[in-house]
């Protein structure tokens, strides 16, 4: 039966892609029983992949991460439809601490370091679920990634610069030994040089530490540079997705997210042919 038309020997069959490590299936999130922030979103994050989730303000990116971390209930949000799976099992009913323990960790938007706690104490909190013997080794790894933090261990986090706080927020998340690390707009408000440093670490996390990364960004250029695959979210829907390099080359993406202007103000969803392009892209 399977004779002709096979891909050349040694190549994986395209349709038999590995089961995703983390998967959102037809997710719908409603806040306050009225505001539909995310509708019918499906996206998958393969093991050891870096997936970029792009979109402008209010698109629903952070909402998806809150759903992933089990935090919706703190804001009167409810996952009204669909499911979130990790290694094939549904996780949307798990409590936040159970999710962290199973390796699903996020660096929240705006860094959210504990301002009154020192760098060391912030890192200790990151490792809250994994106390004990390995703490020193993990600290050393974080300090190796961010030597700046090693110099400021006793400093109160609230007085550090934005870039240092972002490093601390990432280091803190790493202390819990994540399997999937989601980062919510890590470049927000940082100088280009600092962004370089942060993105350098993100690449190392995948290459050297084998992490799976879900990268939420408005800064599409940076994110698509490091990502393997990208999704574009608008008004709570995925409007486009595809391999990162193709997305970066896509005319509409270039126009709306990379600041390569073509004509007047338009939404990506208004672009007639986006569906055809989507098919072409994926």
């Amino acid at each position: 039966m399977i004779a002709a038309g096979l891909p050349s020997r040694g190549q994986p069959v395209p349709s038999a892609a590995p089961a995703p490590l983390l998967e959102f299936r037809n997710v719908r999130v409603v806040y306050d029983k009225a505001i539909e922030a995310v509708r019918d979103v499906s996206l998958s994050v393969p093991e050891r992949g870096v997936v970029a989730l792009l979109g402008s303000n209010g698109a629903g990116k952070s909402t998806l991460l809150k759903a992933m971390s089990g935090l919706l209930y703190t804001e009167e949000g409810v996952l009204e439809g669909g499911s979130i799976r990790f290694r094939g099992a549904e996780i949307q009913a798990l409590a936040p601490d159970e999710l962290v323990r199973s390796g699903i960790v996020q660096v929240p938007e705006g860094r959210r370091v504990f301002a009154a706690l020192t760098v060391d104490e912030n890192l200790a909190m990151g490792g809250f679920t994994k106390s004990g013997s390995s703490a020193r080794a993990k600290l050393e790894r974080v300090f190796e990634l961010f030597p700046r933090l090693a110099e400021r261990r006793g400093q109160v986090a609230g007085y550090m610069s934005g870039g240092e706080q972002q490093m601390l927020a990432i280091g803190r998340a790493l202390m819990s030994e994540p399997v999937v690390l989601a980062l919510d707009e890590p470049s927000l408000g940082l100088a280009p040089l600092v962004i370089d440093r942060i993105y350098g670490v993100i690449a190392r996390l995948r290459d050297e530490f084998g992490l799976t990364v879900l990268l939420v960004e408005q800064n599409a250029q940076r994110a698509l540079d490091v990502a393997d695959h990208g999704y574009i979210l608008e008004n709570g829907r995925v409007v486009l997705d595809g391999p990162a390099d193709r997305l970066a080359g896509n005319e509409d993406v270039r126009e709306f997210y990379l600041g390569v202007s073509r004509e007047g103000e338009k939404s990506l969803r208004d672009v007639k042919h986006y569906k055809r392009r989507k098919r072409w892209l994926s």
Partner: protein, 290 residues
């Protein structure tokens, strides 16, 4: 001079009782953002439980203390689990009302379970007088001050070095982000209620041994709440010190300015200090959440 010393020393002792109860307020506020208006009632109930053990079982001071504080621990956990946890996420106003209702229930339970008469809690200790020069002080008073100091030291170390202590500070600062670290805020709340009930229970036992036991003892809560405001509602250590300041100020005012001023001295002090430091002497967080 002798008069002054005597006033100051007994003020110190009663202030240590206020301080312990005030620490109870602060522990719950720090962890949950709530003022527990049943703190004085909790203090009173534990003292009554101690008295029950003493009259029915044994007067052995160790047994009575361990028994009553064990009961305090369970009572704190039970209140958190049964009454407070279902209120999680509800408006602060509603939740505070629940603690007020709890206060009324606990207060009247004294009359249901025990009776309306004053009793002495005699554990065979604490009543002998130690003389230092011209002034005398009871051993119970020395013990309560020593206990407060030990608690202050213990909590300082706990908040600075223990994983759970740091987690409590993290929850107080930003509970959503603490959730992202895998800190179970439910567990932190439960521990805070248990710890708070135990600290208050210690205060209640000391108070009952030094003075007596009566259904009006819940007023210790009213006396101690200003201490926690003075020290800082979110400052556990500060609240302990606030109690001492108020106890001493009250006694000195009562001794030198007439007994009528004793009741108001603490509050005058609070008004003055809050005008200068609105979050209390050691407080950090604004107290909008109350």
């Amino acid at each position: 001079m002798r008069f002054f010393l005597e006033l100051a020393l007994s003020g110190l002792a009663v202030g240590a009782v206020y301080g312990l109860v005030a620490m109870g307020f602060a522990v719950i506020y720090k962890a949950t953002g709530l003022v527990n208006f049943a703190q004085g009632e909790l203090t009173m109930i534990i003292a009554y439980i101690a008295w029950t053990i003493q009259t029915n079982l044994t007067g052995n001071v160790a047994v009575v203390t361990v028994g009553a504080l064990g009961a305090a621990l369970l009572l704190g956990l039970a209140i958190e689990r049964v009454v407070m946890r279902p209120m999680l996420g509800e408006p602060v106003f509603a939740t505070v009302m629940v603690t007020i209702a709890l206060a009324v229930i606990l207060r009247s339970s004294i009359n249901f379970i025990w009776d309306a008469y004053p009793h002495g809690l005699d554990l065979g200790v604490g009543r002998s007088v130690v003389r230092a020069g011209a002034v005398g002080i009871r051993t119970g008073q020395i013990a309560v001050v020593a206990t407060l100091l030990a608690m202050l030291a213990g909590f300082t170390l706990f908040f600075r070095y223990s994983r759970f202590g740091i987690a409590m500070r993290a929850v107080a600062a930003d509970d959503r982000t603490a959730l992202l670290m895998g800190v179970s805020t439910g567990r932190v709340h439960a521990a805070a209620w248990a710890a708070s009930a135990v600290i208050s229970g210690i205060a209640g036992i000391f108070f009952a041994v030094s003075y007596d036991l009566s259904p009006t003892m819940f007023q210790l809560g009213l006396k101690s709440f200003p201490a926690t405001i003075l020290g800082g509602l979110d400052a556990v250590i500060g609240s302990g010190l606030g109690g001492v300041i108020i106890g001493v100020a009250e006694n000195l005012a009562g001794g030198y300015l007439g007994s009528g001023t004793k009741e108001v001295a603490g509050f005058v002090l609070i008004i003055v200090i809050l005008m200068v430091r609105p979050f209390g002497l050691f407080g950090q967080r604004d107290i909008e959440r109350v």
